[in-house]
């Protein structure tokens, strides 16, 4: 059912929700950009609907709530371990269509790829998603090419409308609170974009020969292997483990799970001092092909959702979407040289 709601009513609903949920949404953090006097749009816990940044793409994605950047899994003493507390409340996450498509990728990796990840699941099963409609496409978005511009598997959808909001609710448990607070009931269809300026073409028939292409070499020097593209990506799921022994008592400590990046040094390090992908171009190749080639081989659809955050954030102006668009030429090149 669809609803028109005033801001104040939305905040009343927030109050009701907050008993059971923490509410997360993209928020403009003033002065928190890397450069001075710049802002950063990040996922933060909010109390008031007006804290939500509806007009910009968030710099980092919602995934930090489902897979915290640095998460303590358990504490250990000499004989015992104690699991770290699970957040007491569930979470309501405001996110866009591309990101909700990314949730499917996270679920695929953490819940369906062989076994269920306990630490993911215990957060995930208490999350509700509210879709933020996209009235227009942002810079570097290529969701239409990736088929992620539209989605209906949300719990509710929201869009600013005049001085309030329009909601499309699909969660039976929320019908009562919405109809109680709404101005009126009506049909609401979330906005979505039908065209982006950036378009990508993932060619059919990529083979592993593509690793021999010359196209990767330019990234050896262009890329600085900072890993920003991975950390902002809503679909990157790699992590590493840190066993920490507290400095004032080396017998107790904690195990942490921390986000990892296939672009950053250390990712492919193995015992004996080896590292499989030393050159940045090779790391780029691994990342790009994982997003639009080998993930699909296993799961049947592309990993990349076309949010374009990797392009937004790259300090070296390397465009992931443009790299995808080079794949067709690269295949032709390796076929010719075969």
């Amino acid at each position: 059912m669809g609803y028109n709601l005033e801001k104040a009513s939305m905040n009343d609903i927030f109050k009701t929700w907050s008993e059971e949920y923490a509410i997360y949404a993209p928020k403009c953090l003033v002065g928190k950009g890397a450069f001075s006097d710049t802002d950063s749009v990040r996922y933060s816990e909010i109390q008031d609907i007006e804290e939500i940044e509806f007009d910009k793409k968030s710099d980092f994605s919602f995934k930090e709530i489902l897979t915290p950047i640095s998460q303590t899994l358990f504490y250990f003493t000499e004989e015992e371990i104690k699991e770290a507390e699970v957040p007491k409340k569930g979470a309501i996450i405001f996110l866009r269509s591309c990101d909700l498509h990314a949730v499917k990728r996270l679920d695929e990796i953490y819940l369906k790829n062989g076994f269920e990840d306990y630490y993911y699941k215990r957060i995930r099963e208490k999350v509700k998603f509210i879709l933020m409609g996209c009235a227009y496409s942002y810079e570097n978005c290529f969701c239409v090419s990736m088929g992620t511009n539209q989605i209906d598997s949300y719990d509710a959808a929201i869009e600013p409308y005049k001085k309030g909001y329009r909601i499309d609710n699909k969660l039976p448990a929320w019908e009562e609170v919405f109809s109680e607070h709404c101005e009126k009931e009506l049909e609401v269809t979330p906005s979505y974009v039908t065209e982006n300026i950036v378009k990508v073409n993932v060619p059919e028939g990529i083979t592993l020969d593509i690793v021999k292409s010359e196209m990767w070499n330019e990234y050896d020097s262009r890329c600085i292997n900072c890993g920003r593209c991975n950390f902002v990506c809503p679909t990157c799921t790699c992590f590493t483990m840190q066993d920490v022994f507290y400095t004032d008592n080396g017998k107790v400590g904690e195990r942490r799970r921390v986000a990892a990046s296939c672009m950053v040094d250390g990712y492919t390090d193995v015992a004996g001092g080896g590292a499989y992908r030393k050159k940045n171009g090779q790391r780029m190749r691994f990342k790009v092909l994982h997003k639009v080639y080998d993930y699909k081989k296993r799961f049947g659809y592309h990993m990349c959702v076309g949010c374009g955050r990797c392009d937004d954030v790259c300090p070296e102006y390397i465009s992931f979407s443009n790299c995808i668009n080079k794949l067709e030429g690269a295949m032709a090149e390796v076929k010719k040289n075969a």
């Binding site: 890397a34 001075s36 980092f60 950047i69 640095s70 890993g227 590493t240 507290y246 990046s261």
Partner: protein, 320 residues
């Protein structure tokens, strides 16, 4: 020709090597202005000068080849520049009201540069409004970060932008980017302890390299803009030297107050016999001793809690 050279110098004209010919100096606080003033400078140079313009060492313009007789007309043509750049003036249409206190210079700052910790031009303009016009010989420069591209340590007052890095350990993935940058490019105050980063705050110079390097936004800038204030650097014949640190983690209001206090100090202690009434402040401090300077400079100044005042301050420099 009957000229009062003292007056024309005060009016920002110069007595040049060529008899009968002067040059006009235009101040551009913070070294940044709307491009439209360039054509006005050009117009003066082509109408009354010799058609050339010198970009000065203090980020202003000097228009050479002007006849002394034309100074009033030049002042009329300078008026839109003076007004447009918001320069304090005693009499409209009569050019600059003083020349002793020099143009406040600045690097391009955070309007352009990623390293800049603040708007250098904006702060330079604020200082200009607070101190100009004044006949005392003060040189002030601002730079956005400890790279010191503006060479502020060669000035009486050098203002260096800083940020107090804020660390959110829950966003840190131990990628090592900040530690590497701090070690290679800055003062090496970051170290990895138990997969997280520790900062040796006493030695940190607040350059912001860690913030710029961090791919996850674990490092961010402090809300308050803070500065390092260096004092009594100078060029010149007698004893050129680099300015030394006076206060670390000082705020804007305190800096302005300290500069204004120093005008009182100089007015009180300047050598009455100083040639052209001009004496670098540092020589006065050498004479009175640092403690006396400090007493005057910090009068009624409310420093932020984290400010560190260096005392006593000793200078080195070249002695012939």
């Amino acid at each position: 020709m009957d000229l009062n050279t003292k007056q024309l110098r005060k009016n920002a004209f110069r007595v040049t090597k060529e008899r009968g010919i002067t040059a006009s100096r235009i101040r551009v606080p913070g070294g940044h202005m709307e491009a439209k003033y360039l054509s006005m400078v050009q117009n003066i140079a082509e109408t009354y000068g010799n058609g050339t313009v010198h970009i000065t060492g203090r980020q202003g313009f000097e228009i050479p080849g002007i006849r002394y007789e034309d100074m009033p007309q030049v002042n009329v043509m300078l008026q839109p520049i003076i007004e447009g750049l918001d320069i304090n003036q005693e009499k409209c249409g009569e050019g600059y009201s003083a020349a002793g206190t020099r143009n406040v210079t600045a690097c391009v700052g955070n309007r352009v540069c990623p390293y800049g910790c603040y708007d250098t031009t904006g702060f330079a303009q604020r200082i200009e409004k607070a101190i100009f016009p004044h006949d005392l010989h003060f040189k002030i420069a601002l730079t956005g970060c400890p790279n010191d591209c503006a060479k502020v340590r060669m000035h009486d007052f050098g203002i260096m932008g800083m940020t107090e890095p804020q660390y959110d350990k829950d966003r840190c993935v131990n990628c090592g980017a900040c530690v590497k940058k701090c070690t290679k490019k800055s003062v090496g105050v970051l170290s990895t302890v138990n997969y997280k980063v520790e900062r040796y705050a006493d030695k940190c110079i607040g350059c912001g390299e860690c913030v710029l390097a961090c791919p996850t936004g674990a490092w961010t800038r402090s809300e308050q803009k803070l500065y390092r204030l260096t004092i009594m650097g100078r060029t010149g014949k007698k004893n050129p030297r680099l300015g030394e640190d006076f206060i670390k983690w000082v705020d804007e209001d305190s800096i302005i107050k300290i500069i204004l206090n120093t005008y009182d100090y100089v007015a009180h202690y300047i050598d009455p016999e100083a040639p052209l009434g001009k004496e670098h402040i540092g020589y006065i401090v050498d004479r009175t001793g640092f403690e006396e300077f400090k007493k005057w400079a910090l009068k009624d100044v409310q420093l932020p809690k984290m400010a560190e005042v260096y005392t006593p301050v000793y200078w080195k420099g070249i002695k012939y």
